[in-house]
């Protein structure tokens, strides 16, 4: 389908001269443009895979949101589904109680998730990686349980019924083949990506990277760590919430699985496959992950999970860099231009 291979893992930043660095990083490279043109081109090609593509776009956005905190602020999270779920339920409840226009619902859901993210961000300011891992996980588990308990609002374990989503901006109805859904999700992902790209290439983004690389040193040159972490975590929550809202709106159903641990873990896997810290990792990882899952589970519905695990183990053992370097040698310049840096 997409000929782009998953990418390599970036190294920690090695700083060239600052001004040129900022500009060089912010400039658009032609493979990036190509990436998005082909993504939008798929609206025309492969009309029978739009549902899967829609899922890929949403998972990509979700992983992108995780990349914002993992790749740019070094926060490991195993509970990112909390925000995905909040956004998903917010969108579902909005659509159920009158706000059926998707774009409005998307923005409001993002705001709701952002608010939760803002509050939760104060819990991850302290502690080691492991502590953060478990705190984020704990938050997600509590939200999962809340959604289960508050069944008069959320429908509990049966899921939220009666969601009716109107046409986008009052004009484009969701069609059966998922073409509108894919176009909608891809557009949203693209716009959010543009915003993320601006942010990470801004001085704020750089200061985050500085924090990630060396907390102490960053603090001594006057970068206030906590405020930046709160800001990026909130932003990531907004993104995750919007991803959740997209899934709700394009499938017209919300269930507890939106908040499931597996969803957080998937996002992390996707990001590790795609590589973190250059924004495309989530998107490329999502493509690789979903296609792999789809192909494997079509081949052996009951035991595909074995091969999935096998691929993961091989991937790590051989080293993603080495494996991909071999597979991707022909595309290496392309990936480099996408922003992935290699040793």
């Amino acid at each position: 389908m997409l000929s782009k291979p998953p990418s390599t893992r970036p190294l920690g930043a090695q700083a060239p001269s600052p001004a040129a660095f900022l500009q060089a990083r912010a400039a658009w490279r032609w493979p990036e443009i190509l990436f998005w043109i082909s993504a939008f081109g798929l609206i025309l090609l492969f009309p029978n895979r739009h549902l899967l593509l829609n899922e890929i776009a949403i998972l990509g956005l979700f992983a992108l949101s995780l990349d914002l905190i993992l790749g740019y602020a070094g926060i490991v999270s195993l509970g990112h589904a909390a925000f995905f779920g909040v956004g998903a339920y917010a969108a579902g409840l909005l659509a159920k109680h009158g706000v059926s226009e998707p774009v409005t619902g998307l923005l409001l859901s993002g705001a709701a998730a952002g608010l939760v993210g803002f509050l939760a961000s104060f819990m991850i300011l302290r502690g080691t990686d492991l502590t953060r891992l478990m705190v984020t996980l704990g938050v997600a588990l509590i939200f999962h349980e809340l959604a289960n308990r508050l069944d008069w609002i959320t429908g509990g374990a049966d899921g939220l019924l009666g969601i009716s989503v109107g046409p986008i901006l009052g004009r484009f109805d969701f069609d059966f083949a998922g073409t509108t859904a894919y176009t909608y999700s891809l557009t949203a992902t693209f716009l959010l990506f543009l915003l993320a790209r601006r942010i990470v290439h801004s001085p704020f983004g750089l200061s985050l990277k500085a924090l990630k690389d060396n907390h102490l040193r960053a603090a001594t040159i006057g970068i206030a760590p906590n405020r930046r972490i709160v800001a990026i975590y909130t932003l990531a929550a907004v993104y995750a919430g919007m991803a959740g809202a997209l899934l709700t709106q394009t499938t017209q159903f919300v269930s507890l699985e939106m908040l499931d641990f597996a969803r957080s873990a998937d996002a992390l896997l996707v990001l590790v496959i795609g590589g973190s810290g250059y924004l495309y990792g989530g998107l490329i990882g999502a493509i690789a992950f979903k296609l792999m899952k789809d192909t494997l589970s079509a081949m052996t519905p009951a035991y595909w999970i074995f091969w999935m695990g096998f691929i993961l183990v091989i991937l790590v053992l051989i080293g993603r860099d080495r494996l991909m370097a071999t597979l991707a040698r022909p595309f290496a310049p392309l990936l480099k231009l996408l922003g992935a840096r290699r040793p």
Binding site: L133, V139, A265, F310, I311, L312, L315, V316
Partner: protein, 284 residues
């Protein structure tokens, strides 16, 4: 009321045995092994097969389950895990999740996906009354066995030569190697031992928490909670944490069943907020 307290302790003890191996690999070797549950599951299945197909007595199966999982752990350590020690935590997470997936599907393929059952010998069934408090014999058995094991572990780490070698190897690999400590061997043995403990936990726990191919995923969270709440710098931490969580969980569900699953998560969050290094960690 006391009965429920005792149930909580037994549950906590079981959690400890299941998680102790993880505390060792994560705390001492600084390796995030999410596949820990897979070794526990292996021990459980070993027991089921030995008992149901070969008719071995339960008590004999327990050490065999330990050995089986330990052997499995040893093989995996030699073949796979040792390449991962120097990697980032993220790589370790990805790698061990991959192993979990494989173990789930493989177990499903080999053993079927249904719940497995262990038939306890008659002398471990039923309950006794001590001072009017009804206590399940099997739970008493778990508490006694696990306490002995916790003591033994602590002794081994703190007092034996192997324990000090391990601690030295963890603190500074290179220096330890320089001192002539066989670091590679120490790590392999420790890993195998941790896996063995998990296997024993799986064998003991199959009766109470059940055993099916999704075991490693289902209980991964519990292991992680025990280890993080307890802190990773000693074994006493996870032990106390496991007991606390076990008791709080069981008591909480008994007193306020509506809150059910919240309690254990809420405790974890509260502890980690106040003591990010874990409840019983010495400051490093």
């Amino acid at each position: 009321m006391l009965t429920i307290l005792f149930d909580g302790i037994a549950y906590g003890m079981l959690l400890f045995v299941l998680a102790a191996g993880l505390a060792v690999t994560l705390g001492l070797m600084n390796f995030v092994n999410l596949a820990h549950g897979a070794f526990a599951m292996a021990g459980g299945y070993a027991t089921v097969i030995l008992m149901n197909r070969f008719g071995l007595p339960f008590l004999l199966c327990l050490p065999l389950a330990f050995l089986f999982s330990a052997a499995l752990g040893f093989i995996f350590e030699r073949l796979l895990y040792r390449h991962m020690y120097e990697r980032s935590h993220l790589d370790q997470v990805l790698f061990s999740i991959g192993l979990v997936f494989m173990s789930i599907a493989a177990t499903d393929y080999l053993m079927g996906s249904q719940q497995q059952n262990i038939h306890l010998p008659a002398y471990l069934q039923g309950r006794i009354f001590i001072g009017g408090v009804g206590i399940g014999i099997y739970r008493l058995f778990i508490v006694v066995l696990c306490s002995l094991m916790a003591l033994g572990l602590q002794w081994m780490l703190a007092k034996t030569r192997f324990g000090s070698q391990l601690r030295a190897a963890v603190d500074d690999r290179r220096a330890a190697r320089g001192l002539g400590i066989p670091v590679v061997k120490v790590f392999a043995i420790t890993f195998a031992f941790g896996s063995g403990l998990a296997g024993l936990g799986g064998a003991l726990g199959a009766e109470i928490v059940g055993l099916d191919p999704t075991f490693p995923l289902k209980f991964m969270l519990y292991f992680l909670i025990v280890v993080t709440v307890g802190g990773t710098s000693s074994l006493t931490g996870p032990l106390l944490a496991a007991l606390m969580l076990g008791v709080a969980d069981v008591m909480g569900k008994y007193l306020v069943p509506q809150l059910g699953a919240f309690i254990i998560y809420a405790i974890m969050l509260a502890v980690l907020m106040l003591r990010p290094q874990g409840l019983f960690a010495r400051g490093r």
